[in-house]
Amino acid sequence: MREYLYYPGCSLKGIGGPYEQSLLSAFSKLGVKLTEIADWNCCGATAYMSVDANMAIALAARNLAIAERSDGQDIIAPCSGCYLSLTKAKAMLEQYPELRAKVVGALGQASLRYTGRSNVRHPLEVLMTDIGAKELKKLVTKPLKNLKVVPYYGCAILRPYEAVSDPHAPTVLEEMISLAGATPLDYPYKGRCCGGMLTSGVQTVGLRLAEILLEAAKSAQADVIVTTCPLCHYNLECYQDKLRKSTGKEFGVPVMYFTQMLGLAMGLSEEEVGMNRLLRKPAIAGVTA
């Protein structure tokens, strides 16, 4: 049985709840065991990095050190922000020996050991590489026929660490949409910023970025946008009402997680993948509107 460590991060325990639910259901259906990292802490996101880099790296490194207590399993970080923070911390600890010495010393004060042997991975890449499109396709019992899907990657799983897919022309999400029986749409904004934290901080900028993405999805006549990140999901799903008020444009585009899409295609029920927790459900055969 395949086993991985699971780093949920703050969002999957809150607004990104449907992501956690569908991820756990889909992996369990695949017979893959996920063990949550014991007493994990915040990854630091981009906020801590903007205030203090030394502390931000130490914060992320504590999670990596705890993961090292296990039997060498890779860490799955579904939130793109967490994925990037943990990957970046690991990369910087390799690049800066002086910083590494300091962080290793600080972790040692709390009896934690860091060697850098844990790998950080995104579930999209794990599914498509370790399990593979061929195996996944065999498990698709309810192909999502005629569903037109916008593949939306967002930023952090593509850049700057190019481990998930080509940062300029990614294809892995399209491959997953196809194997689920749906149709991936050509979407030129698939790697563009969703607005990030600006949707709550500086809305004139943040909401405009989300608006560009939604407008393009609507004109492509998408049935649904599929995302890989809880912040992208929130920005695209939750600000549609606000955008209607400020721009007069009605989008009405549902947004779901790729794990929900895969789960449904593998025959999991609507409840098991948390479809009822979306603010707007996509029109999929067998899914109640």
Partner: protein, 164 residues
């Protein structure tokens, strides 16, 4: 954005430190790293923006507005609980960007609560917060390690090794 990224880089090269550190532009950067992977000269623009933000924060020369306030609040919350509580952070952010904004978020918050994605009186926290505090306090002793810009390298053991 009061200065374009190109202008920020130009000002840094020409030594206009005060102008750079008091600019709001680096705080508008969402760190999506588009510039970093596009730049033909491989300038690490996103990381430079991070450096500017940190210097401005440490020297207290940043202009007060909502984004640096959010970042500081984030750090405070993580140091206190080890994790972030989205609902509490959301309320603080909305309050900082005006009472009108706070009120405009109420219908969305209500919807998210009904969809079991937001709990108003719940605080997300670690069990052993003392362990994290020990680590962070140990990081605060001794000099800060400076991090000169280096090209990003995919860490070893990553599934696909790609050298930048």
């Amino acid at each position: 954005m009061d200065k374009t990224p190109r202008r920020i880089i130009g000002l840094i090269r020409a030594g206009f430190k005060d102008e750079v550190l008091s600019s709001i532009s680096p705080w508008i950067c969402t760190s999506c790293y588009s510039c970093t992977v596009e730049c033909p000269a491989k300038i690490k623009i996103t990381d430079i923006m991070f450096v500017v933000k940190r210097m401005a924060m440490q020297e207290k020369s940043y202009r007060r507005f909502v984004i640096p306030d959010i970042e500081e609040e984030f750090v405070r919350m993580v140091r206190k609980n080890g994790r972030l509580t989205e609902s509490k952070m959301g309320i603080k952010v909305a309050r900082k960007s005006g009472i009108g904004n706070l009120l405009s978020m109420v219908p969305l918050a209500w919807k998210l609560m009904r969809h079991d994605r937001l709990k108003l009186f719940h605080t997300e926290r670690m069990v052993n917060i003392d362990e994290l505090r020990t680590v962070l306090e140990a990081m605060e002793t001794g000099p800060r390690v400076t991090l000169p810009a280096k090209p990003p390298v995919v860490p070893t053991g990553h599934h696909q090794e790609v050298t930048a």
